[in-house]
Structure formats: structure tokens, C-alpha cells
């Protein structure tokens, strides 16, 4: 039986510098079922972007996926050759990136860039591709689609550029969409528009979404499942409601307490933890990477990397302090 959705097993992507190895992604595993919206949450540098790029073998130069499996429809994406994976990218699995100004070719019109998806995967000729492009732009609520299709990226606002990117990504109705911080670069009201757009279109064409973000609010609103990432590893996974109500990993707990909330009393001190996330090279703390900042740290935490323990049906934690 071909398992549905995406299964990631022990993915490791390291950066190899002249003198050091940077363990950007260090053994992460997860599953996303069809139709879910899963969020990978973490602060900058935790490896979430690299992990997403690795799924499609798009990991940055200087890095290598040294082990792991990414099972999609029974095939391992990491073992595919360049031609094979090119056929999957943009057609079965698509990505939307964070900064649309740099993510778009500055000297091609956005119409040409969107049409490229159709020309690549569906072999459409220029006219057909153009027609479909306009259709997609209408689908993403781009104001004045015909005019915008002939515009260049620098002529559009941030929100419009992101719509163009979404149109590009969803053009071939992919089964999986990976959105890497898609709204970090735009204003909050545009953010709301874009996220509503992504989630509603995804629902309509039955696309699974992996949402990568550091914004705990967005996750609470849109994601059904989340994983928390810290220093290249996952520390907690679970269903959104459960995780927010009963966070167990000390990092998750502190993260939730550190975020200012709109419905809180004002001028309240936020609960913070000292220090900052560790560098991912040889200076990475042994054992549990979080132990230097953890108030519950014990001897075991300094020695062994914690394994995942199941707390309930939909909740797992990697922490020695938490009893399963």
C-alpha cells in the first residue's frame, strides 16, 4: 500500500566549511497526511528552511544531505536523479518563498515566469500558457491581472509579488505546497489576505501544506499540526490545540510565554530565557542542545540526545525531563 502524504525519516543536511561542519538539520522525522496544514516552527537559524529545501533536493550550495529518506507516493525524493525530481518540482510539490523580490527574476515579467510552469510541465504553447496564467492570477485575486502579467517584479507591491509566487506554485495543482515564511516580508493585513488565500485555495484543490514560520500566532490560526524545531532537531510535535494547551518541552513552554499577545494585559513582563540559540558547529552543546538554557537540566541531558516520547495520541516530546 502506498502511504499517503509525505513521510520524512531521519533527514540530515550538513554544511561543510573549510574547518567545520555545521549540522543545520540533524535527524528529523515527520509525517504529513493529505489535506493537513502542518507548521514547522522555530527561530532563525534553527534549520527549518534548510530542512524544507532539502525535501526537494534544493539545499543550498555548500551543504549536503548526508542521510535520510523523504517518501512521497512511495518514492524516495532524495534518491531521485535530476531529471526525475525536476518533474516533481512545481508539479506535484511546489514551494513559495519568503522574499518575493529576490525570489523572482527581475528582468522577466511575472506573466512569463508563471507561464514557465505551464510550459515546463504541461507542454503548453505560449498562447495557452498565457491564458492559463491570467486564470491563475484571477484565482489569487490579483487586481487587474492582464496588466500585472505584463509587469516586472519591481513594479508590484510586496503583496502582489507574493500572489504571483502563489500563482506560480499552485498553477499545476500540486499535491503538496511548502510555504517558507510566505508572509514575513509583508504587512499584517496583507499577511492575513495571503494566508487566507493559501489555505482556502489549498482546501479547494486538496493540497497539503507545510508552513514554515517563526510566528506562533499564524500557526495557532491555520495549522492543524505543528513541530517545534531547535538547533537542527525537532523537540516537540503534536496537534496544534493540544500543544498550545499543554506544551511540555521547556523550549516550547518558554517560547509560548515569550510571545506578546494582543489579548494580554499591557505592560506585562514577558517570561524569557537567557542566552540564545547555539551555533550548529562544533560548539553545539552535547546531548540535548537546549540544556545550557534549561532550568530542568540534569546530568543525562548533557550526555544523551533525548529520544521522542509519546505523551498522547497526538503529542510527542523529546526531553528527558518529561515522563511519557
Amino acid at each position: 500500500m502506498i502511504p499517503e502524504g509525505l513521510q520524512v525519516r531521519d533527514l540530515c543536511t550538513y554544511f561543510f566549511g573549510r574547518t567545520s561542519v555545521n549540522k543545520a538539520v540533524d535527524g528529523i522525522s515527520y509525517e504529513v497526511r493529505t489535506g493537513e496544514i502542518m507548521a514547522i516552527v522555530g527561530e532563525s537559524g534553527c534549520g527549518k528552511t534548510v530542512s524544507a529545501l532539502s525535501l526537494l533536493q534544493l539545499n543550498p550550495p555548500g551543504s549536503r544531505i548526508i542521510r535520510g529518506q523523504v517518501l512521497w507516493e512511495g518514492r524516495d525524493l532524495l534518491r531521485m536523479g535530476a531529471d526525475e525530481i525536476s518533474r516533481i518540482r512545481g508539479k506535484e510539490i511546489s514551494m513559495v518563498f519568503q522574499e518575493p523580490l529576490t525570489a523572482l527574476n527581475p528582468i522577466m515579467t511575472i506573466g512569463q515566469q508563471i507561464a514557465e510552469v505551464f510550459q515546463t510541465h504541461e507542454g503548453l504553447d505560449k498562447k495557452e500558457a498565457e491564458r492559463k496564467t491570467i486564470e491563475m492570477l484571477e484565482g489569487v485575486a490579483m487586481p487587474d491581472p492582464e496588466k500585472r502579467a505584463k509587469s516586472y517584479p519591481f513594479q508590484l507591491s510586496g503583496g502582489m509579488r507574493q500572489r504571483a509566487m502563489i500563482a506560480m506554485a499552485l498553477g499545476c495543482r500540486p499535491a503538496l505546497l511548502i510555504a517558507d515564511e510566505p508572509t514575513t516580508a509583508v504587512d499584517v493585513t496583507i499577511q492575513a489576505q495571503l494566508l487566507e488565500l493559501i489555505t482556502s485555495v489549498a482546501k479547494e484543490i486538496k493540497t497539503t501544506v507545510i508552513l514554515i514560520t517563526h510566528n506562533l500566532g499564524i500557526v495557532a490560526r491555520y495549522a492543524s499540526k505543528i513541530v517545534i524545531m531547535y538547533a537542527g532537531k525537532f523537540v516537540e510535535k503534536g496537534e496544534t490545540a493540544e500543544l498550545y494547551a499543554h506544551p511540555r518541552h521547556p523550549y516550547t513552554i518558554s517560547l509560548l510565554k515569550a510571545v506578546p499577545r494582543l489579548d494580554q494585559e499591557s505592560k506585562q513582563k514577558l517570561v524569557t530565557i537567557d542566552g540564545q540559540p547555539p551555533p550548529l558547529d562544533h560548539r553545539l552543546p552535547p546531548g540535548c542542545s537546549f540544556h545550557p538554557r534549561c532550568i530542568h537540566a540534569r546530568e543525562k541531558c548533557k550526555e544523551e540526545i533525548p529520544a521522542f516520547r509519546r505523551i498522547s495520541d497526538n503529542h510527542e516530546v523529546a526531553c528527558w525531563f518529561v515522563e511519557g
Binding site: A192, R261, S266
Partner: protein
């Protein structure tokens, strides 16, 4: 009087010119278009809005980095009026600024000490006195004293912001203008810096003009919040009330757009989706600038610009519909209030 800063009808227009030999004006960007507010001693006013609303320009005018096109800025009872540049120089030290980008706003080739001591160059302290002061503020902001001689580029983002803050407080200003000071920081570091802001305010008693686009952060750190849209303030209210009872429709949309990190709360919230984009400040809509996107817009909204009125106690809004809805109960402009005070 415990009012530290009073801004009255501040305007800053940027002319757009074209042509090489004879520059002709082809447009006017009304970045700040009649902004008024006050900040009391020891209080924090959060100025919030999306990109292009004019909040940064407002901050820069108050700091003296931009010369206002018109309007009054009264700081510590002194009118910073027409001899703008000169007056401002005398004030330097009483008002300080902290910038957004911790990586761009510090000269990477200077040491922490040099950066922090820079404002003191105006006063003639000798080397050891300067050092003492630098150490003092480093302690206040939580920087390790051993790092006093490190170069700026060796510090992390959060540490750099601490350096910026240390530099800002070394002359014990009465007002600190903060322009997006935490947006570039990670969640956990952001929380540390936000706490630091509040701690310092408790200890040293200065006021903040906190400019940011992140409503949650602004709400947390401020006593009062002013919401800006296309160069105008649309609502001013106490921070706690902002979430409980936003009146202006833009504010309502803004709040609805900000997700709260709590799924159970999120489920119950109403979602308002604004259509379209923020119009260009070159060509703002007539009347109330928000009317094309407002779902409650009436005829008058397109015709006349609403003025800020105190529609409820300690709650100002610039909206015809809100004004009407709240009836004739307590509609008082600033002038009317003073009149009432005089009469009673």
C-alpha cells in the same frame, strides 16, 4: 505640567520632482498629513501602522532628522518651532533614538565603548569618567562588562540592540524614540529586549515613542496606542482598550489580522479581511483615506475628511460612522474640552 511632548498638526510633505535642468514638481507625497498627539512623562506611546503610513517619518521629525513642512512640536514646554535645526541642537541629549536594524545602525569598526560613549562627546568628560559612565549603562542594559572593547560586528543582534539602548540612555534623555527596535530579532531575544525597555523605564523614568508595525509588541509595551493610516492618525486609545474595543474600522481590521498564539482563542475570533492594498501616498483617496476599503463607508466618508474626536472617554477616533454611532454623548474636540473646563 507633566506633558513631555506635544505634537500639533504635524505635516511632512515630500515633493516629487522630475527633470534634469529645470526640476518641476510632478507630485507630492504627504507622508505625514496632520498628526497630533501628546506623551506624558514616564509614559509610552506606541505608534503603529503598516508600511507607508508615515510613522517612521513622524519619529524622524520629532528627532530632528527631518524638518517638518508645518505643525508644532513642543518638547518640555519649548516650542521647537521655526528655527528648527538650531533649537534641536540645544535639545540633543534630551531626546534620543534607537533604530531598527541592529546590523546596519552600528558602525562595525567601532568598539562597544566607542559607540556607547559617542553621545558624551558633546560634554567634555575625561577618559576615565567616560568609561565609568559607559560601564554604568552597560550594567543597566545587561551587557557583559568584559565586552567593552569588542568590536561591534562581533556582537549578536540582541546584544547590538542592547548597545544601541545603552548609547541612547547614557545621557539620561527624557524621551527615547524607538523605530522598530525589535522587528529584526528572534522571538526569545525580542522578549528580552522588550522587558529591558520596560525595566529601564521603571528605573530611569523616561518616556518612549515606540514606533512599530507589530501590534502585539506595541500593545504590550505601551500605555497609549496611536494607529496611523496613510499619513493620518485614525485612533488613539489606551493600550488595554485597543484590543477590547477598537472603534475605527481600520483598527478593527488590523486587530483582526493579527493572530493570537492560542488556538482556542483564535477559533472564536471574527476575521475581517480587507480588500485591496494600501493606496499610494502620492494619490490618497478623497475624504477619509480609508473609505475605499471600509465596509461601513457612507457618502460623507468620500467627501469630507473626519477629524479626531474624543468619541468616548480617553478614546479618540477620526471616523464619521463611529462618531454618529456613539451619538451626541461625548463628542468633544480639544477646544471644546478646554472651554468646558474654563466654564466649569
Amino acid at each position: 505640567m507633566d506633558i513631555l511632548l506635544e505634537v500639533k498638526d504635524l505635516k511632512k510633505y515630500f515633493p516629487l520632482t522630475k527633470g534634469i535642468l529645470r526640476e518641476r514638481q510632478i507630485g507630492l507625497i504627504k507622508a505625514v498629513d496632520g498628526v497630533s498627539f501628546t506623551i506624558k512623562k514616564g509614559e509610552t506611546l506606541g505608534l503603529v501602522g503598516e508600511s507607508g503610513c508615515g510613522k517612521t517619518t513622524t519619529g524622524r521629525c520629532i528627532m530632528g532628522l527631518e524638518e517638518p513642512t508645518s505643525g508644532k512640536i513642543i518638547f518640555e514646554d519649548k516650542d521647537l518651532g521655526s528655527s528648527y535645526g538650531l533649537e534641536f541642537k540645544k535639545l540633543q541629549g534630551r531626546v534620543q533614538i534607537i533604530f531598527q536594524d541592529p546590523y546596519g545602525s552600528l558602525d562595525p569598526r567601532l568598539t562597544a565603548e566607542q559607540i556607547i560613549a559617542e553621545p558624551l562627546m558633546v560634554e567634555k568628560f575625561n577618559h576615565s569618567e567616560t568609561r565609568e559612565k559607559v560601564k554604568e549603562v552597560m550594567g543597566l542594559v545587561g551587557l557583559d562588562l568584559e565586552m567593552i572593547n569588542r568590536y561591534a560586528h562581533m556582537f549578536s543582534g540582541g546584544q547590538r540592540q542592547r548597545i544601541s539602548i545603552a548609547r541612547a540612555i547614557i545621557r539620561r534623555p527624557s524621551l527615547i524614540v524607538c523605530d522598530e527596535p525589535v522587528s529584526a530579532l528572534d522571538v526569545s531575544i525580542q522578549a528580552q529586549i522588550i522587558n529591558l525597555f520596560m525595566e529601564l523605564q521603571e528605573k530611569l523614568g523616561h518616556s518612549y515613542l515606540f514606533i512599530a508595525h507589530d501590534l502585539s509588541v506595541v500593545r504590550n509595551i505601551s500605555d497609549w496606542v496611536a494607529v496611523m493610516y496613510l499619513g493620518k492618525i485614525v485612533e488613539i486609545v489606551r493600550a488595554m482598550e485597543l484590543f477590547r474595543k477598537p472603534l475605527h474600522f481600520y483598527t478593527r481590521a488590523l486587530i483582526s489580522a493579527v493572530p493570537i498564539p492560542d488556538p482556542s482563542v483564535e477559533k472564536e475570533r471574527q476575521r475581517i479581511l480587507l480588500k485591496g492594498e494600501v493606496p499610494s501616498p502620492l494619490n490618497p483617496p478623497s475624504g477619509c483615506h480609508f473609505h475605499p476599503r471600509c465596509w461601513e463607508a457612507k457618502k460623507i466618508c468620500a467627501e469630507e475628511e473626519p477629524r479626531m474626536k474624543e468619541v468616548e472617554p480617553e478614546h479618540w477616533a477620526a471616523c464619521w460612522v463611529v462618531e454618529k454611532q456613539l451619538g451626541s454623548r461625548r463628542l468633544k474636540t480639544e477646544g471644546e474640552r478646554i472651554l468646558c473646563k474654563i466654564l466649569s
